[in-house]
Symmetry: C2
């Protein structure tokens, strides 16, 4: 099998937002002799794809959209696949039945990727004859722009599947990060939800509004973390002793924040305040602006790093 | 009193990293007939300022550095101040004694700002005759670049002090955010430490390394939050029902992450692993690159928003 850019037959299962964004990402890297197929049971699949897939693509690639293969049944969709990437509903029964069927019809060396944000491969693979073939490839929304892919094998996933998966994404300039063990919600999700829990608490306690809280992030941690994650940032902020110096300096404040942290739960009654404030602050989101901003931020970080290399 | 750009006599207390960065920020906005004074007890204050203050400034402003007033005693430093901004050590005894002395020597209408990251104004003001004058103005490191200022009054801070403080920063194009109540660690800190706690847990459990965790943030939440904070981002990712739709979709995964969240504490024994991995990954930080990247990211977000306005 060949996971090089050439000769790659990719099947995306599910034509929802994530499926279309993933499909767009593959289209941007697709070369002659390769193919992309989308499978979904929706009856209007063709018009749906023709309408929405272009919104994820630069204009120069709109002409490729009619060449995307469409399928309404799994056996047809995966028969010649090199890669099957599932972006279906977050439902264990659906996913575990799906992989058993995919396995019956796909080529023996095809890679099986699930985009799940929460159901580990070790639960999705229970009906498979060969569970070594399945691996989580968890993108971050929107995946055609943000480079992260969390690669999460089950204990049964083979090393060759792990290696070929990482190799595929590195060759496409993306950022696959291999988790050493399965864990609830994976890493990006856990970090985002941890911050969100505290954010909800602070809005619920009327310390700040939803919009104030967002502005705080957008003018502090956001720009900082776009360039350097929390450890690298705190290391840079700690003076000659780096992260260790910083931790010594702030340990009492940090521990006090941890001791006082919010412990909101789903269904606790904060939902209405948070949802109403968010709707009133933002109305209908401007996804075009979001995508443009995300692209430009990523480019800015690359340019800043390139300038360093040029200065050295 | 006049907090307009003109006629502003600013005294910065403390010539550490934050003090110098704040001083640089003021220099960038200082006009004729205004002045900046730095007070610090270090004996090498003049050479310290001449050496390090320029590193926070664009080259065109290096010529202003020798014009910065220097003082080694408080009474001299604050006698003519419009604003006294304290960037001293995080120590309650130091700060509360300081404000009592500042109050004795500064003009009656001078604003008193503390850059503390954790000691609220209501504790710092206990020795003041008029505690209505003190307010927290908490910057985010590095303050000459990142726009956020958390404005945190004590229950005794006067409305006029709040208004003049916010007005000052808005006129300088910064982002003052007024917290409605005092709270341990303020908002930005609580959010950053909440995420850091989970980050430490994930490294401590060997799910990912320090560097992998940073890369995860840099290629997902970082660029996203540089443009839109968590509520705005999740609202945009939730389809037609916005944040509400998103919460309904992920509520079980999110609650599972919250139930399973790490509860590390300072001194639990994770420090060595985290500090060693950080040092090995990053060595000596490149602050020039960091500052350049942060500036370029902020500019990228502004440009993306300007393009929207141009398209409308």
């Amino acid at each position: 099998m060949n996971t090089h850019v050439e000769d790659c037959h990719i099947t995306v299962i599910g034509a929802g937002t994530i499926g279309l964004s993933i499909a767009a990402l593959h289209l941007m890297h697709l070369k002659t002799a390769s193919s992309l197929t989308i499978v979904d049971i929706r009856p209007d699949l063709r018009s749906h794809i023709l309408t929405y897939l272009p919104t994820f693509l630069p204009e120069s690639l709109h002409i490729c959209v009619p060449q995307v293969g469409l399928a309404s049944t799994l056996p047809d969709a995966v028969r010649h696949s090199t890669i099957v990437q599932e972006c279906g509903p977050e439902n264990l029964e659906f996913k575990s039945a799906l992989w058993a069927e995919v396995e019956r019809h796909a080529p023996l060396d095809a890679l099986f990727w699930t985009s799940t944000s929460g159901i580990p491969a070790s639960r999705q693979n229970i009906q498979m004859r060969d569970p070594s073939r399945l691996i989580v490839v968890h993108p971050f929304n929107p995946p055609h722009i943000l480079p992260l892919l969390e690669i999460v094998p089950s204990p049964k996933t083979s090393q060759s599947v792990i290696d070929r998966t990482i190799d595929f994404w590195i060759k496409r300039g993306r950022e696959p990060v291999l988790l050493q063990k399965e864990i609830t919600g994976f890493v990006a999700g856990r970090l985002a939800w941890a911050l969100l829990r505290e954010a909800i608490h602070l809005v619920d306690q009327d310390i700040v509004t939803v919009q104030q809280l967002d502005r705080i992030i957008e003018t502090s941690m956001g720009p900082r973390w776009a360039y350097a994650g929390p450890f690298k940032s705190f290391h840079a902020g700690g003076g000659p002793d780096g992260l260790e110096g910083l931790l010594n300096l702030v340990r009492h404040t940090v521990q006090a924040c941890w001791d006082d942290a919010g412990r909101v739960n789903m269904g606790d009654g904060w939902e209405n305040k948070v949802v109403v404030q968010t709707r009133e602050a933002y109305g209908a989101p401007n996804l075009e602006e979001r995508d443009r901003a995300n692209r430009m931020v990523l480019r800015a970080v690359q340019e800043a790093k390139r300038e360093t290399d040029a200065l050295d």
